[in-house]
């Protein structure tokens, strides 16, 4: 009897530890996918495929960093795909037509992304409109602006410095290095600073945070600004990969980005999760796509499989108690 109690206590402790470390669940899933890849499509591990995968994951993963902040704070940002599209178009126009340096163009689109994010934030915190509705509105508006300023046309970019970001540095695409830098900086911010803690606290219990005298509206605004800036960087990086500005680029990316965040184990109700977990989520979604292409699974079927993965991940998180709030 005592032995049984000991084991059941031990099991409870292990379960609690497992559920309390945000990254473990998604990491288990990712390891499972890596094993699957080794069995089904060994060519997944070829260096050129890994390099390509790292390039592919960058766009979604960068946008997912910002989205994670918004979701962790208890809101949602649906406008990320449109901001990616607008940033892609604006960067291309600035470089190709106005001779901006790639760095000035990056700074410009980051500013635009930040302003759109702040607008989302103000509508949510000041005008008290649910973030789902606000960002659904900006999703359409921002996409419309991308079409208007490009005239619906594609804008090729021939700037060598810009296209040079496609190069590989120590076996890793430069755009992935950009992502890694953003991941490290934002993780330090999220885990080690007061504001980072308040993002999670606001998502966990907004009323409690307000009663303790913390400016929860400011925290939410900040999360939306981060999301806008990250999406703008993602759009810029997408431009590097495409070598052009396409007004319809990033269409539907919001779902991939949110899926990456959720698969990574961030609760849609806010408060639980981490940026590292979001990175793992982005890798899971992109690797599955990559494996399906390598295995010769058709594009239509890919949609079905990705949807199923999302549902399975949500179920797994639920069992771990992540979504129980």
């Amino acid at each position: 009897m005592a032995r049984n109690t000991f084991y059941s206590k031990l099991l409870t402790t292990i379960k609690e530890k497992y559920a309390s470390i945000d990254e473990l669940k998604s990491l288990t899933g990712f390891i499972g996918i890596l094993i699957l890849a080794a069995v089904v499509t060994p060519q997944f591990y070829l260096p050129q495929n890994i390099t390509m995968l790292l390039g592919q994951v960058s766009v979604i993963a960068i946008a997912a960093l910002g989205e994670a902040f918004v979701i962790l704070s208890g809101s949602i940002d649906l406008s990320v795909g449109s901001i990616i599209g607008l940033a892609n178009v604006v960067a291309a126009i600035l470089i190709a037509q106005y001779n901006f340096s790639p760095y000035m163009a990056l700074f410009s689109v980051m500013t635009i992304g930040g302003i759109i994010g702040l607008t989302n934030g103000i509508f949510v915190t000041r005008l008290r409109i649910p973030s789902f509705v606000v960002t659904l509105g900006t999703l359409t508006i921002v996409r419309g602006i991308a079409y208007i300023i490009s005239g619906g046309l594609n804008i090729p970019v021939y700037n060598e410095e810009f296209l040079g970001l496609n190069e590989v540095f120590y076996g890793v695409p430069i755009i992935f290095w950009i992502y890694l830098i953003a991941l490290v900086v934002l993780t330090i911010f999220f885990e080690k600073t007061r504001l980072g803690l308040y993002v999670r606290a606001t998502g966990s219990n907004e009323l409690a945070v307000r009663n303790l005298g913390v400016d929860n509206s400011g925290v939410k605004n900040l999360a939306f600004v981060f999301s806008g800036v990250c999406s703008a960087i993602a759009g810029y990086v997408l431009g590097v990969r495409l070598g052009a500005g396409y007004p319809h680029s990033g269409l539907g990316y919001e779902l991939d980005v949110i899926a990456a965040v959720v698969v990574g184990g961030v609760a849609l109700t806010g408060g639980t999760g981490s940026l590292i977990a979001t990175a793992i989520g982005a890798f899971i979604m992109t690797s599955i796509l990559n494996i399906m292409v390598l295995a010769g699974i058709g594009g239509f079927m890919q949609y079905v499989v990705r949807g199923i993965i999302l549902l399975v991940a949500a179920l797994a998180m639920r069992r771990a108690g992540v979504f129980v709030k």
Binding site: T193, R194, S204, N205, A208, V209, N211, L212, G213, G271
Partner: protein, 241 residues
């Protein structure tokens, strides 16, 4: 009677056409647990919220240790030494015990949170208070209801409060956990000479734990009773007269 710690004089408050409080005055002494009872809408919670800086009063004055104070926000009241414990704990379930206890008053080194010092201070405080929490690194959602309310109370004690406001602190707890929480609060108020105001519906608990009982009706204090001289039947009669 010990020295006064909090005095409220002639507080009135209206919300639109509804008069929530009319000319309410009370005095709280060091080491005293004062209970306020009344039916729903009698004004108990409004009074606590005014003292805690959630609402400003329309008229009247608040004196803390005989000095007049005016609070523009709950943070002002917390800084002055008035802390509130809520019915629904007001904790962030996804943060651990340390993060919850220091929320809004974190200790930082430069720009970065210094958990090492926060944990050290918390451990010392736990030892001093003889407080039993499974782990200070455990997320609060893994704690029982009673433990969660103890964490909420612990948060109010970290910065040596002068006045504790308890708004139905045991309403969401089991009988056993309620007793544990109230015994702890009672002992704390006595030994540290804090003033406590306790709003609750459980009249037996009120009689058991409080030092003095004020009865409110329609935004006014209509009676004052000593717990040893009254009983639940009389208190109900006074509340509904």
């Amino acid at each position: 009677m010990t020295e006064e710690i909090l005095r409220v004089e002639g507080i009135s408050k209206s919300f639109g056409a509804i008069r929530a409080l009319s000319d309410v005055s009370l005095t709280l002494h060091k080491g005293e647990l004062l209970a306020i009872i009344g039916d729903n809408g009698a004004g108990k919670s409004t009074l606590l919220k005014i003292i805690a800086g959630v609402y400003p009063p329309d008229s009247g004055k608040i004196f803390l240790e005989k000095k007049e104070v005016r609070f523009r926000s709950p943070m002002d009241a917390r800084k002055a030494g008035i802390e509130m414990v809520f019915q629904d704990f007001m904790l962030c379930p996804d943060l651990n015990v340390t993060q919850n206890v220091f929320l809004g008053r974190e200790i930082v080194s430069g720009e970065f949170l210094n958990y090492k010092i926060m944990k050290k201070i918390l451990r010392e405080k736990l030892k001093e208070l003889k407080f039993d929490i499974p782990s200070i690194e455990k997320k609060v959602r893994f704690l029982s209801g009673g433990q969660q309310q103890m964490v909420a109370i612990l948060r109010t004690l970290m910065f040596d409060p002068k006045v504790l406001l308890l708004d139905e602190p045991t309403a969401n707890l089991s009988a056993g956990a309620s007793e544990e929480v109230m015994n702890f609060v009672k002992q704390l108020i006595r030994t540290r000479m804090i003033g406590g105001i306790y709003v609750a519906h459980d009249l037996n608990a009120i009689i058991k734990y409080s030092d003095r009982i004020l009865v409110m009706r329609s935004g006014r204090i209509i009676a004052e009773k000593m717990p040893e001289e009254t009983n639940p039947v009389e208190l109900v009669r006074l509340m509904r007269l």
